[in-house]
Each structure stands twice: as C-alpha cells, then as structure tokens.
C-alpha cells in the first residue's frame, strides 16, 4: 500500500489547469500546422494562421488561449493499492482548480445552479470528476478544460439496432453539420457508441482524451473513423465556418458492450483552437 498526501493532488491539478489553458499541447499545434498547409480556402487558411499565432501569444504572455477557460473535467485512474491521506480526494481536486483559476487569471465560468439565480461560484469549482479503480499504486489524472460553445453543440441519441452503422454515421455527421461555426471548427469529434444512456456520454468525452490522429487498435473502428472524417471534411464548413476543407482535425470513436435492444450514440465536440488536455501520473 502506497500513501500520498492529498496536497500532492491539489498541486498537480493546479499545474494541469494552468498549463492546459496557457500552452497548446504538441499534438494540437501539429494538427493546426498540418491543417494550415492543407486548407485550400484562403479565408480558412488565414483563420488557421491566426489561431497558430494566438497559441504563440498565449504561451509567451501566460494568458489563456481562449477566454472560455472551461469546465474542468478530470478522469482519475486510481490504483487500488494507493491511499490518500489528509483529506477528501474531491476537495483536493477542487482546491487545485480554485488556486489555478483565481490565481492564474483564468475565467470563472461555473454557476452554482442551472436554473434560477445562476450565481457564479467565482472560482470555477466544482470540477466534474470521473473516478476509475485500476491496478497498481499510482494515480493518473487526465484533465480537460471544456468550453461551453462546443459542449452546447454536442448530442446524444438512443438509436436501436436496426438503425445500424449507417444510422450511427449519419447521426455523427448531422451533429457536426448542425454545430457548424458554433463549435469553433476545426473541431475534434469524440464519439461514444454502446453502453447505456448515462455511460455513452462519458465514453464520447473519453474519446476526446486520445492523442489527435492516434490510430485505434480495433480495425473496424479505424475504418469508421476514416469514413467519418472524410464525410465531415466534405461538408465544406471549414475553419470557423468561413468555408473550406478542414472542418475536423480528428474523429475518435470508442465503443462499449450494450443491451440487445440498444444502440446509444453520443457525439461530444471539442473546439480545436482551444483543445486543452493534460495528463499526469503521480
């Protein structure tokens, strides 16, 4: 049994939040450089160049790439042989969020209740936490700062087995088309297929935590991802919706076993310009 003090978690979360907002991850930057080379629309190319310049400015000045510094979503893989001392895990995570957002000039974007007075919590807490027990004695935290614009354009639907793969593909493409410029394209498309009503959305979000352009180890999923990105980039929406051939930087699909009667699908959109993801193992 390994024991770590909960303050280690707070410090790690604080660092994740700051770096994710100030510095574009290498895979995001690389995807934009490639897109800027490939985009044929002049206005689209100009937008991509502007976004690369924005990443440079944010990193140098230590300011967030986007004013919407997002909801903090953390997937925590906790080794079964690890013990936290000195306080509650969720409190420690929220303290890390609080320190980063109030001390790091990040915007507080969370309101305490969804309907009624909607008072801003002023420190961007609480974070959304997904806890998973895994082998070993380590903690791995994968953190996303999820902006509201792309999140609002995400969709889920309870399809049924007869809708089949075609039904799934059409739903994904329709969701990206309906989102259009609202989701700040070029986007990263996270797709969850299978599971239940509650789990499929998490699966779609988990799909967003893969490295951009990484290959899925299941050949059928690889094929689905290939077809989807082609269909999406044929829509013509382009960077920021000003027209072009690059609407998505990547489509990541994850699947899960499901009920004999069910075919749930969720599409979680991530804006490319401020795709903020960081991972740490302690």
């Amino acid at each position: 049994m390994r024991e770590i003090d909960i303050s280690t978690v707070t410090e790690a979360v604080q660092r994740l939040c700051l770096e994710a907002n100030y510095v574009a991850a290498p895979d995001v930057r690389k995807a934009f450089e490639l897109a800027a080379e490939r985009e044929v629309s002049p206005l689209g190319k100009q937008v991509l160049t502007q976004l690369l310049e924005n990443m440079r400015v944010a990193e140098v000045e230590r300011v967030p790439m986007c004013q919407d510094t997002g909801t903090v979503v953390i997937f925590a893989d906790i080794g079964q042989d690890l013990h936290f001392s000195g306080g509650l895990f969720s409190d420690a995570v929220n303290e890390g969020v609080r320190r980063a957002y109030t001390g790091g000039y990040l915007r507080s974007s969370i309101v305490d209740r969804p309907v009624g007075k909607r008072t801003n919590t002023r420190d961007n807490t609480p974070a959304v936490l997904h806890l998973h027990l895994v082998d070993g004695d380590q903690l791995t935290m994968t953190m996303l700062a999820k902006g509201g614009g792309a999140e609002n354009m995400s969709q889920m639907r309870m399809l049924t087995p007869g809708d089949g793969l075609d039904g799934v593909l059409n739903f994904v493409v329709e969701t990206v088309e309906r989102a259009g410029p609202n989701a700040c394209p070029p986007v990263i498309v996270g797709v969850g297929i299978g599971g239940t009503f509650d789990s499929v959305g998490t699966l779609a979000k988990q799909a967003l935590t893969r490295e951009i352009g990484s290959e899925h180890d299941d050949p059928q999923i690889q094929e689905i991802e290939g077809e989807l990105i082609q269909r999406i980039n044929n829509l013509g929406i382009g960077p920021h919706g000003f027209g072009g051939r690059i609407t998505a930087l990547a489509v990541h699909v994850e699947i899960a076993p499901t009920h004999i009667a069910s075919l749930p699908v969720a599409v979680n959109l991530q804006c490319g310009p401020a795709a903020r993801l960081r991972r740490v193992t302690i």
């Binding site: 629309s41 944010a58 300011v63 986007c66 004013q67 919407d68 259009g180 410029p181 269909r231 027209g243």
Partner: protein, 171 residues
C-alpha cells in the same frame, strides 16, 4: 453599415459595448418593464464576450467571441432599440437576419479561440453596467483595428451558407 457585404474582412476601430447571456436577460427585462436602459444602444455595436481577468498592467484578459445564437432571442428587440451591429461567432436565426435587414444592421464574426490575440486589439476597457455580473457585466471597450468578417449584412446575405456551398463535396 450599408457599405458592408457578407464576406468582407474588416478591422473595427472605436467604441463597442459587451454583453452576453446574463446582461441580455436584464436588458430585455428592463425594456419589457418600459424602463430606460442603463446604456444607450443608439447606433451602437455589441460584442458578445465574457473576458478573462486581466493580468496586472494589461488592459483586459483574453477576449474572443462567444456563440451568438444564444442571444438570438434578444437581438431583434435590441436592434429595434437602436442597436446597429453585433460581433460574435456562429449562426444567427432567420429572425435576427430579418432584423438586420429592417434596421440596416450588420453581424460580424471574430475568430473563436483566438482570445489572447484579439485582446491585443482592445486598448481600453471599463465596466459601465451590471458590475455584479463580473465577466458577464456590460463593458465599454475601445477597439483598435479589431479583425472581423462580415457574416450577415443589411441585404440579407449569409456568408456561412454561401461559403459552405462553395467547398462542399458529395459523399
């Protein structure tokens, strides 16, 4: 505004006001009660933005556009109250596009996700109404060569639909 056409790339210099969801709700409630608005909208442009906090010495924190569609339900009444233009990102409804034609208005898009860069084109910023709303307060911003694209003009044109058609491929 009548010289501007969908697809034009422009640089905006001068004063604009900011407002997003919460401020719009209050403005409309004020109009519905028949009271005077805390800001004069005549001939004004509203920028849909909720800026990040400024670092010491900076005018403003990152300040890119938010999704305009959420303000569609409020925009026609504000155009009727004198508003001439809006800056944001994303689709506008048919009703808003119609209001732009009726009131000779224009909708501009700034590039979403480039808030660090756009903040450099804001030379002064002060809160002028609803300070309790924090980032959602109404700010008065002085812009200097702020880059934007005309999406919807006073003649009913829509860049988003024409641009998409140009690059769309079947299959």
């Amino acid at each position: 505004m009548l010289d501007l056409r969908a697809g034009d790339a422009v640089e905006i210099s001068g004063v604009v006001l900011t407002a997003r969801d919460a401020a719009h709700q209050r403005l409309i409630e004020t109009l519905d009660r028949g009271e005077v608005l805390p800001v004069d909208l005549a001939g004004q442009v509203i920028y849909y933005v909720g800026p990040a906090p400024a670092r010491p010495g900076a005018v403003i924190g990152s300040a890119g556009p938010t999704t305009s569609g959420r303000m569609d339900r409020y925009a026609p009444a504000l155009h009727a109250a004198g508003l001439r233009g809006t800056i944001g990102k994303g689709y506008r409804s048919d009703v808003v596009r119609q209001a732009l034609v009726e009131h000779c208005g224009v909708y501009f898009a700034a590039v979403g996700g480039s808030g660090a860069l756009l903040a450099k084109r804001i030379v002064s910023a002060e809160v002028i109404a609803y300070p309790d709303l924090g980032t959602e307060a109404i700010w008065r911003l002085q812009l200097d060569r702020f880059p934007a694209i005309v999406v919807n003009d006073a003649y009913g044109a829509d860049l988003y639909s024409t641009a998409k058609g140009e690059y769309r491929r079947d299959g």
